[in-house]
Each structure stands twice: as C-alpha cells, then as structure tokens.
C-alpha cells in the first residue's frame, strides 16, 4: 500500500484545463433548447458506439479517461447503456452490419439526446466511403449535432466536440 501512495504522490496531479467549445463543429442549429442544455451541462452521461470504425478513434476516446484529460473530473462520464445516456459518441463509418444496432441504440436513448460523430469516417465516410458494406457517415443513419474531423481526432478535439454539443450560442 505505501508503494502505491508513494507512486501517486510522485506522479502528482496531471489534469489540464479543458478546451473551449467551437461552433464551427456544429452541423445544425441547436436542436435542444438552452434550458435543457444548461441542465445537462456538466453532468453529461455519454454512451460510445463504435458503428464500424478501424478502432483508431476508440484509442483517443479511451484517452479522455486518462489523468491529463480527466473527463470525469468535468462531470462527464461514459455509461454502459444508451438508456442512461444524454449523448451518443459515435465512430464510423456505419457498416451496414451495424446500421440496425446503431438505430436501435439511438431509439433506446431517452429524449432529449445529443449525437456527436467522431473522426473523418464519422463525418463523411472517410477512406472507407459508401459501398455494399458501408453506409458512410453517421448522419446517413441517425441525426448528428456535432461532427469532429480527424484521423483520429485528438482527445482535445473530441472533448471540444462534446463541449460544443452541450454549449449554446448565447454562452
């Protein structure tokens, strides 16, 4: 036990300040009214869905939980069920084999809900595009509020996308 405590003390606090929202990432006009966003604000429950990615975006989403980005320190946490979620964080492209599962996950998420598409493939289908096996971008399958490009986008960019979705223009 004292080894663990010593190591924790030696490591110190690594957490950095979060990024600011960026309206340029917003795909459509705010679908959810300000008051609700204010309520959700900093106690956001996020459900991640991999709808067919190469797993590169997942690596960066994992990093949000590390001590540098410390997403839980901001009051946001990843939940195990869409029924517990305010937001879906979706990576893609949406494979046709995941199309139904993604739609069902979206339907299972209670209103009001937000969707953030992650990565070049989530934004426009990326290198995999549309084909016999791929529906392309997330917005081809479910409504998307904010799209974060990058291959993969950095944790800071993903966090910024999440913050943008819960911010509003008045802020």
């Amino acid at each position: 036990m004292h080894q663990i405590i010593k190591q924790i003390l030696r490591t110190g606090i690594k957490t950095e300040a979060p990024p600011q929202p960026d309206e340029a990432l917003q795909l459509e006009a705010q679908r959810i009214n300000e008051r609700i966003l204010h309520q959700i604000g900093r106690a956001l429950a996020i459900r991640h869905v991999d709808a067919g990615s190469c797993n590169g975006c997942e690596l960066e989403i994992h990093c949000l939980n590390n001590a540098y980005y410390n997403i839980e320190g901001l009051g946001m946490h990843f939940v195990a069920s869409p029924r517990h979620a305010d937001m879906l964080l979706v990576t893609g492209p949406v494979s046709r084999h995941m199309e139904t599962a993604l739609k069902r996950t979206y339907d299972a998420t209670p209103e009001p809900k937000l969707v953030v598409a992650i990565g070049d493939c989530g934004c426009d289908g990326g290198i995999f595009g549309e084909s016999y096996a791929s529906c392309g971008k997330i917005a081809n399958v479910i409504p998307v509020d904010v799209a974060v490009p990058g291959c993969p986008p950095t944790p800071t960019a993903i966090l910024q996308g999440i913050m943008t979705a819960v911010s509003n223009k008045a802020r």
């Binding site: 080894q3 663990i4 190591q7 924790i8 490591t11 690594k14 991640h48 869905v49 991999d50 709808a51 067919g52 990615s53 190469c54 797993n55 590169g56 975006c57 997942e58 690596l59 960066e60 989403i61 994992h62 990093c63 939980n65 590390n66 001590a67 540098y68 990843f78 195990a80 069920s81 869409p82 492209p93 494979s95 046709r96 084999h97 995941m98 199309e99 139904t100 599962a101 996950t105 290198i127 995999f128 595009g129 549309e130 084909s131 016999y132 096996a133 791929s134 291959c151 993969p152 950095t154």
Partner: protein, 512 residues
C-alpha cells in the same frame, strides 16, 4: 510432395522475408498442410481470389525455413477446395469467409455456417467476385445465425452485444451459463465489415498505403510496414537502411503504446484503478512524444512503400531516450506493485487459462501464444533488417492464464525499450525514402511483420498499371478469437472482461 523440397522447387519471393510461393494441386495442398501440421508448423493465413473464369485459394503456412505460400487453382464451374479445418482449427472461420465473400466452398466436414455475411447481401452474392460492383446495394434482409444451443438443467443464455458496455468495438458474445459459470461461449463477429478488401481493388499501390494503415487502427505501423514489404517485393524496391531502422523504431513504439494501455486496463478490470491511472499517464506521455516528433500520435502514414516519411535528429533521439527513461522508471515500480498486489494476483492467476497443448492444437499465436508456451516471434526467428542485428529476446511463459499474459506484456515492454535504445544508438545515416519502381500484372507480394498482437500478413496480387487486383490483410486475431472461446470455459461471467482484455483482439482487423 515432401515439405523440405518445396523451397527447392519453387522460387523465393523477392523481398525482406523468407517466403516461397508455388502453385499446387488439391492433393499436394492437403499433403503439405498435413506435414506442416504434424511437424510443428502452423497456418498463417488463408484467402481466395477471382482469377477470371476461375478462382484461386491461397494458403500461407509457417515452418522452420520460413513461409510457404501455396496457390490452388479452383475451377469456376465447381468452386470448391479441400477442407483444412481438421488439420488447422483456425482455418474454419477463414474458410467460411472465403465462402461468404468469394463463393468458394470447403469440401468435407466442418462448419458451413456463414461468417462475415450478416444481412447486407444475400448468400448467392459474393462481394469479392470481379462481377460484383463495390457500390451494389442490396436491401437489408433479416439476419439469422444458428448459435449452437446448450441445454440441460439450469442452463441459460446471456446474449451480449454487438454494442458493448465499454468503449470497445462491436461484436456479439453468446454465453451459455449455469449460475455464474460459463459452459460455452460462442462469438459472432463481422459487425464492422466495411468492405476493406473490395475497397483496395483498383487502388494504385500508392493509394493503398493509407488504407493499409487503417485496417486495425491500433496496429497501424505494423500493417503499414507489412503493406510496404508487399509493395517492395512486387516492385523490387529495397528501402534505404535508415528507413528500415526507423520502421523498427515505430513498430516498437507501437508495441509499447499498446502494452502500456493494456496493462492499465488489466489493472482497471481487477479494480486496481491506480494501475489504469498510472499506465495511461505513461501511454499519454508516449503519444505526445510521437505527436511532437513524428506528427502523429499513433504514427499513421509514417511508413510508406520505399521508406518512411519522417526522420529523426539528435535532439529528437534525446527526447525519445528521456521519455523511455521516464517510462522505464515508472514501469519498474508498477511491475512490483502489480506482482505483489494480492487482490490483483488473485484475479489474474489461473483465470482464462489456455494450456500449451491446447494452444498448440488450436494455433494460438502472437503475444497470447507466447504466454501459452508457443515460442513464435518473427522478429527473433525470421529477422529482417534491422532485427537481424538486434537479437530480439522472445518473452515466453507456460501458464497460459491472464497472469502469464500480464507477465509477457511486462517483459515485452522491457525488451522494446532495450530495442529502441539500440536503434537510437546504431541508426545508420542516409536517405529515409527511395523511389518505388513499377510492377507487372499477375505478381504476388507478401509482407510479414510481428506486430504487437502477433503476426500480420499482407498479400498483394497486382493488376494492370501498378494497381491492386486483390489484397488480403491477415490479423493474428483470426487465430486467437476462437481460442478465447476456450479460455473462458469454466470461468465465471464477471471474469470475461478481464480475460477478453488480456487477449485484446481486433474486431476491425478480422471483420475487414
């Protein structure tokens, strides 16, 4: 045909790795596979191709002198080939995928259920046939898949996925349990099938580079190197020595990244959140270093046919050495904590055990194979430059449980740190990239790289004007997914996430 005669009769493919390729008939294929299976060799990969009017089945085997790549012509009228799953159980899902994607069927026993196909296209359509256009969209049907039922007093099923509880890739697990004890696990994958192989077709050799780095994002350097080897083989290109050393640097950094992340998650899965916090700080430190020095946190698109796109100066080398020192110091402390933590060891030891005999029989490979006594590591046994000058020390263990896979990861972290230091010390001067020549249609080039998870193969069949006619990437997860079904037997359901993480297999890499 005698196995030993194969390399004498057939030509060695040009390139860095010892690979011989020959066209065989069905009888010779069975005979060679039997000799390899009984002689301690293994099946590496199995894929098919459309050869205008007829087809071909390709089988890559690994044996003492290197890789034997066998091509069996398959009639267009009777598209069938001899079943190999009795010799190599791992062949089963590969054969079923060939049946789904190309319409070539194994003759004989075994499992004839579909594998990669769900409901996006009908059973009589085959996306990898040349007559099938990539943009062909069939209306989605109902997907049905007959899982093997387990019956008996008190047996019930737990269906999990495709959307999992954590931040992981999609797949379906069907547990048959009594109480908490697992009687049987059956996996159903293919959810992330996004047409990667079809997408490669018609790309130029240059265009294929970017896609190769996105087959399984966590192994981008491994795939990019294997792809580059395949291209360099068919174009008779020899990259400058400095480029090869930098590739090895990237491959070892990728191994470190993944092992550090896994060690953190393995702590997390046994309620040692401290381990997660610590290892993921170290991983982030390494990712930031990669981003600063090489322009990409995961080193995507840094390895290209002909060499690498980035170089290293002495300041960068010093930065890497400093980061490694910091990681090494911390990992040493964390290793002692992990090894001495009674709670963690209680969960790790004897959990998810694959004994060496079973592992050998099923063809377990890579890191997980080494934790079950299977001493295969292409960097040590078939070292291409620069590994031929680095004397890689293979980490092996015999217990085959989660604890063994943790130990192998710790040992490989230490070894990769040693290798990176040697690379920095001996990095030869010179160019980092050379021009890639032209190729002829009808060539086969194969890349073979020991990625962090295990052996990766990229098989490239060339078409007209330097384009890809067919490309098959093979992930070690093909071999290891079926073994996971065995590793969980007799364990309790709550240990599944831990066992699964100790293998950490790719979905995208096998769903393609």
């Amino acid at each position: 045909m005698k196995l030993d005669d194969f390399p004498k009769i057939y030509p060695r493919l040009p390139g860095a790795m010892p690979i011989w390729h020959g066209v065989v008939n069905a009888e010779e294929l069975r005979s060679l596979c039997t000799q390899v299976a009984h002689g301690g060799g293994k099946l590496f990969a199995l894929w098919g191709s459309d050869e205008a009017e007829q087809y071909a089945l390709h089988v890559a085997l690994v044996t003492a002198p290197g890789m034997l790549a066998l091509t069996l012509p398959v009639s267009g009228k009777h598209p069938a080939f001899p079943d190999l799953s009795d010799l190599f159980p791992a062949a089963d899902r590969m054969q079923r995928s060939v049946a789904d994607l190309l319409g070539l069927y194994p003759m004989g026993g075994g499992d004839h259920r579909k594998w990669l196909r769900h409901a996006a296209w009908p059973g009589d359509a085959h996306p990898l046939r040349k007559s099938f256009g990539i943009a062909t969209i069939f209306p989605s049907g109902e997907d049905s898949y007959p899982f093997v039922p387990v019956t008996g007093n008190g047996v019930h099923e737990i269906p999990v996925g495709p959307v999992h509880a954590g931040t992981i890739e999609p797949g379906h697990f069907r547990f048959s349990v009594v109480g908490e004890r697992v009687l049987r696990l059956e996996e159903r994958l293919g959810y992330t099938h996004k047409g990667i192989e079809k997408r490669f077709e018609g790309m130029t050799l240059e265009q294929g580079t970017r896609l190769a780095g996105r087959i399984s994002g966590d192994t981008t350097a491994g795939y990019a190197w294997a792809y580059a080897q395949a291209v360099e083989s068919v174009t008779h290109t020899t990259p400058p020595p400095r480029a090869l050393w930098l590739r090895a640097l990237f491959l070892e950094l990728e191994r470190l990244l993944n092992h550090l992340g896994d060690l953190g998650y393995l702590g997390n899965d046994v309620a040692l959140a401290f381990g997660f916090a610590q290892f993921w700080i170290l991983k982030e430190d390494l990712l930031r270093m990669n981003g600063e020095l090489f322009g990409h946190r995961y080193l995507m698109d840094r390895i290209v046919p002909g060499g690498v796109t980035v170089d290293l100066d002495s300041a960068a080398a010093a930065r890497i050495a400093g980061t490694l020192r910091h990681i090494e110091q911390n990992v040493t402390v964390l290793k002692d904590i992990y090894y001495e933590h009674a709670g963690a060891q209680d969960r790790f030891l004897t959990t998810g055990r694959v004994l060496p005999e079973l592992a050998a029989q099923l063809g377990l490979t890579g890191l997980a194979g080494r934790a079950s006594g299977l001493a295969w590591d292409a960097r040590a046994q078939f070292p291409c430059a620069p590994y031929d000058q680095l004397d890689v020390q293979m980490a092996t263990h015999r217990n085959g449980d989660v604890a063994a896979r943790v130990i192998v990861r710790f040992e490989e972290v230490a070894e990769s740190i040693r290798l990176v230091r040697l690379i920095l010390e001996r990095l030869p001067p010179g160019e980092t990239r050379c021009a890639v020549g032209d190729t002829e249609p009808g060539q086969l080039g194969i890349g073979w790289v020991e990625g962090w998870r295990g052996e990766i193969l990229v098989a490239l069949h060339t078409g007209e004007s330097n384009r890809i006619r067919r490309l098959h990437p093979h992930d070690p997860s093909w071999q290891n997914w079926p073994v996971l079904e065995h590793a969980i037997i007799g364990n309790i359901v709550p240990d599944f996430p831990l066992i699964n993480k100790s293998f950490n297999l790719s979905y995208s890499g096998v769903d393609l």
